[in-house]
Symmetry: D3
Subunit: 210 residues, 6 copies
C-alpha cells in the first residue's frame, strides 16, 4: 500500500536526501555564517537532543547582584534561522542592569516571581521615557535598538525571562562602549559632553585606556 506515499513523499525527497533540510535548519556552528545565520547541519546528524536546551535556570549572582542565562543560537543551534532567543534573569536585591541596547532585536520581558520590584524602562528616539515597575505576570516590550535599563527597586529578589526577536541578539552597554576600551578620552569627552574627570573615573572603573 505504500507506493502511493512514496510517490507523494517524493516531494520531501529522496532526490537529495543527504543534504536536504526541509522542516528545520539546525545550525552547523562550524560552517561559514551568512547575513542570515549559519548553514544547516545535515539532517542525518540531527537528533532529538538538538531541539533541547538544558539548564535554562538561575545562574550565580555577580557582584552587581544579578545573573543571566542566555539561550541563543550559539549555544542552542536549533534556534538558527528562527529570529528568536531568550535569557533568564535573576535580580538580587539592589541589582542594576546598566543602560544598554540590543542592536537588532526587540526584547520582551516576562516578570517572574519574587518579592523584589523589577523596574525597567526604555527611551525613544525622540527622547520620551517609558518606565514600568513590573509585577509577576507582567510582560513588557522594549522596542528594537533603543536604550533601556532595569533594576530591582524592591526588597527581596526579582526574576524574569527575556525573549528576543533575534537568534543572536547583540548587547551594547553604554559604559563599556565609552569607557571599557581604548577610545581616546578626548573623543569621549567631546562627543558626550562629559567632563574629563568623569571620563577618567569611569575609564578606571571599566578598565579602559586612552
Amino acid at each position: 500500500m505504500t507506493p502511493i506515499f512514496f510517490l507523494l513523499a517524493f516531494l520531501i525527497s529522496t532526490i537529495n536526501s543527504h543534504v536536504a533540510a526541509i522542516d528545520f535548519c539546525v545550525a552547523d556552528l562550524k560552517g561559514a555564517q551568512t547575513s542570515v545565520g549559519y548553514p544547516c547541519k545535515l539532517p542525518k546528524d540531527v537528533t532529538v537532543e538538538d531541539f533541547v536546551f538544558s539548564n535554562f535556570t538561575v545562574g550565580t549572582p555577580n557582584q552587581f547582584n544579578f545573573s543571566l542565562t542566555p539561550a541563543i543560537v550559539d549555544n542552542f543551534p536549533a534556534l538558527n534561522g528562527l529570529g528568536l532567543s531568550m535569557a533568564r534573569v535573576e535580580l538580587e536585591e539592589g541589582a542594576i542592569i546598566p543602560m544598554h541596547t540590543h542592536v537588532d532585536a526587540t526584547e520582551v520581558v516576562i516578570a517572574g516571581s519574587g518579592l523584589g520590584k523589577y523596574t525597567t524602562g526604555f527611551i525613544t528616539s525622540d527622547n520620551v521615557v517609558y518606565i514600568k515597575t513590573l509585577v509577576e505576570g507582567d510582560i513588557f516590550v522594549i522596542p528594537k535598538g533603543l536604550l533601556h535599563f532595569g533594576f530591582n527597586a524592591g526588597e527581596g529578589k526579582a526574576s524574569g525571562m527575556a525573549v528576543f526577536s533575534s537568534e543572536k541578539p547583540s548587547v551594547q552597554i553604554v559604559d563599556l562602549a565609552l569607557f571599557g576600551n581604548d577610545l581616546d578620552s578626548a573623543i569621549v569627552e567631546k562627543t558626550t559632553f562629559l567632563d574629563a574627570e568623569q571620563v577618567k573615573k569611569l575609564k578606571d572603573l571599566f578598565k579602559g585606556s586612552g
Copy 2:
C-alpha cells in the same frame, strides 16, 4: 544649545510628526490588516501601558486539565510586526494537549516548575518522531508547521511557557479540523482511512455534523 539637536532630530522628524511611527508600530486593531499585520497606532496615542501586558498568569484548568493564557498581537498590540508571541500553559495531572500544528510559527517550549512530567513531541514531514520529557529548565523547539502534541506524564502539575515565531500563531487541531465541523463524513473517511464508525463517534464527540 539645543538647535543643533533639533537639526539632527529632524531625521526623527517634525515633518510628519502626526503620523510618524519610527521606533515601534503598536497595532491599531481597528485598522485594516495587510499580509504583514495591522497598521500602527498614531504615536500620540501610545502610552507606556501599550507596552505592558498584565496577568500573564495561570488560567483556570479546563476538564482536560490544562489552562492556556496567550499574549498575541490581538490582545497585546505592542507585538505588532515583531513576529513574536507567547502563551502560559499549566498542565494538571493527566492533562493532554491534542495533536495540532501552528500554521506559520515555530514554537519554543520552556518547561517550568512542577512535579508533573511535561512530555512533548513533534513529527517531521518524513515521519520521524522527536519526543522528550522535559524537566524544569529545559527548552524544546518545535519546528514550524509540524504536527505536535503534549501531555503530563507524571504525578502532580507541570507548567511551561510557549514562545512563537509569529505575533499571531494560528492553531489547527487535527480532531477539530476533521470532526468539529460539517465536513462530509464520507470525505473524512476516504482521505484519512478511518472507519465510518470511528468518524461518527468523533463527529459526535466534537459536535461536528455531515
Copy 3:
C-alpha cells in the same frame, strides 16, 4: 567603441567574476544549505540546460490511482531562491489524495482536462471547510500550512498542476505522521482520541510500529 560599456559593465563586474552570481543563483546541491536555500553554482558552470526541466509529464498511476511528478529545487536547481515549485498530478477514476499539509507553502491547483471531477478542499484553523469541485480552467488556492485533501469524484480521469510558494515544499500526510512510524500507540490514542483498535488497524496498514 566598447570601452564605455566595459566601464559601465564594471558594475556587473570583472572584479570577482569567478564567483559573482548576479542574475540568478542556480543551486549547488552539494553545497551546505542555509535557511534560505543552497549556495549558488559558479556562473562559469551554468549552461542553458540548468534552466530546463524535462519530462514534467504524466507519471505512472499507483494503486491509489494517481501519479505525481514534482519539479522542486532538489531536481530542478534553477528554482533555488525563487520560492516557487510545481508538480503534475494525474487522478485516475477513484483516486484519493489523503489529508495532508504543506508546512511552509501555499498551493495553487490548476485543473486540467479530463472527464473526472477533481474535488479539493481545505480546512481553516477555525475549522471552516472550503471545498470545490474544479472544472478544466479553474484555479484553486490552498492557503499555507492548512489541512487539505483531494479526490476524483467523477467518471474518467482528472488532471491538474500544482504550484507551490516554496522551492522545496514539504508534505506532511496525517496518516503517515500518526501511523507510519514508531510513535507509541498510546500517545496516538490520547492525543487524537482515536480508539485503540482503529490505531492498531492503521498502524498495520501504514507499516508503523509502537
Copy 4:
C-alpha cells in the same frame, strides 16, 4: 467537552474576530496598497469562491497570433501576499512574443501540447544568450528582470503556462517603452544608437509621438 478547545482556540482568537485574518489575506482591492500589496478582506466576507479563479483557458488569438490569459492579484485576489501568479499563453503558427522584461518577477514557462515549437530565451546582464526550443513537458526558468522573448518556430500551435514569482508581475515591452509614448525621438536615438529613420518608423508603428 469543547471548553478545552475553546481555550486553545483562543489563540486563533475571539479577541478580535471581526478583523482577524489568520490563515490567508484575500485582497480587498478597494483598500489602499502598500509596498507589500493590498489589505485583507474581512474574514467574514470571504467565501470559497474567493479561492477559485474560473476560465483560466485559451483566449482569442490576436493578429500576432497569440493569446494570453493572466491570473494575478488584481483579478484573483486570493493571490494577495503570495508572491505568485500565472498566465496561460497560446501561440498560433508564427506567433511572436516581443522582447520584454518582468520588472520584479522570475518567470517559469511550462510548455504544453501542440505541434508548434515554443522557442524562448533570455539575455543575462553580461550579455550571454540562453535560448531553448521547448517540447511538451519542458519547464524553463527566466530569471527576474532580464530581457527575454518567445516565438513559435514550428508548424501548428504551441501552448504554455507561465508562473511568476510575484502576484503582480509588471511587463515592460522594449518597443512600447521606446516607441509607444511621447519620449523625444532625439533621446531615443542617442540613448539606443538607432537611426532616426528607424525610430520614426517604429514610432509610427507603435503609435508613439515625439
Copy 5:
C-alpha cells in the same frame, strides 16, 4: 497593431487601474503606516515631481558648527518601501557630531571636499573601536545600531553625505536620551555609573528635568 500589446499589457492591468501601483509605491503620507511603511499614492496622482527632491544642499550651520539636510521618506515620499535615505552633512571647523545610534539603519558616509578632517568612528558590541579620518573620496560603513560619532579634526570645513539602509532612519543621541527628558536623575546615575553632579550638569545643559 496594438491589440496584441493591450492583451499583454493586461498583466499591468486595466483590471484595477485606479488603485494599481506596480512599478513604485510613492508614499501617501496621510495614510496609516504599517510596519513596512506608508500606503502608496494612487498612480493617477503621481507626477515626475514625486521622484525629485530639490535642494539637497548645504544647510545653515548651527552653533555646533555643522548642518544637516535629510532626504527621508517623510520629506521625499518616493523613498517609500526602498529601505534607503540620505543626508547632507557640512562640518565647520571644530564641529562635533555627538555619540548616537541609528536604530535600524546602517550608515554609509561618503567624504566630500574641504580642508577639514572628517573623523568618524563606531564601537562594536564587544567594545572594539573602529575610527578613521576620512579624506575626500573615502566611503566609510557604520554597521546598523552601533554607537558612533564624528568631528572635524582639521582646519577648514569638511563635508560629506550619509546614506542609510532605511527610508526612515531614527537617531538616538545618547546625551539627549539620558539628559534631555524627565528621566529620574537617580535612575540615570545608577544605570550609567555617572556622578550625580555630572548628571545634574548635563540635565541643565540639555534642558532635562527629573
Copy 6:
C-alpha cells in the same frame, strides 16, 4: 567590577567567538554565494580598513564622455548584506548614458556640481515617461527594473552620484543585450521589429555576431 559585564556579554558570546559575526557581515569574497550574498569574514580577520573604500572619485572619461566609479560588494565587501551600493558618475559635455535597466535595484541619483545639465528619465511598465533635467542638489529616484537613460544636455561637465538598493546591482544595457552577443539577427529582428539593416549596423558597432 567587570564580571557582571562578562556575564551580560555572554550574549555577544565567547561560546563561539571564532566564527561569531554579530554586528556586521563583511563579505568573504572567496566563499560560496547564496541568494542573500556572500558568507561573512571571520571577525578576527576584520580590521577598520574593511569598512573603508578609498578613491571613490572621478574616473577617466571614456570616448562617450563619461566615467563611472562603482563601490559595490565585490570591491567593497563591507556592503555585504546591506542591500546598498553606490557609484560616482562624471559626464563630460555630450556624454550619453545608454538605455538600460538595473535588474533588482532602485537607483537614486544625486546631482552634483558642474555647468552641464544632467538629464535623466525612466519609462514605466505602462509606457509613461518621467524625465527631468537635474540641477545641483536634486535627487531623482529611478524605480527598480525600469528602462532609464541619461545624458549631459548642457555646456560643461555634469556630475552625480548614484545609490542603489542592492549591494550588487546588475546592469542590462539594451544595445549590448541585443547587439553585443551572438543572438541570431533574425530573432532580434522579429522580437524587436527592427529592420535587418539596422540590426546589422548595430551588431557591427557592438561587436556582436549572429
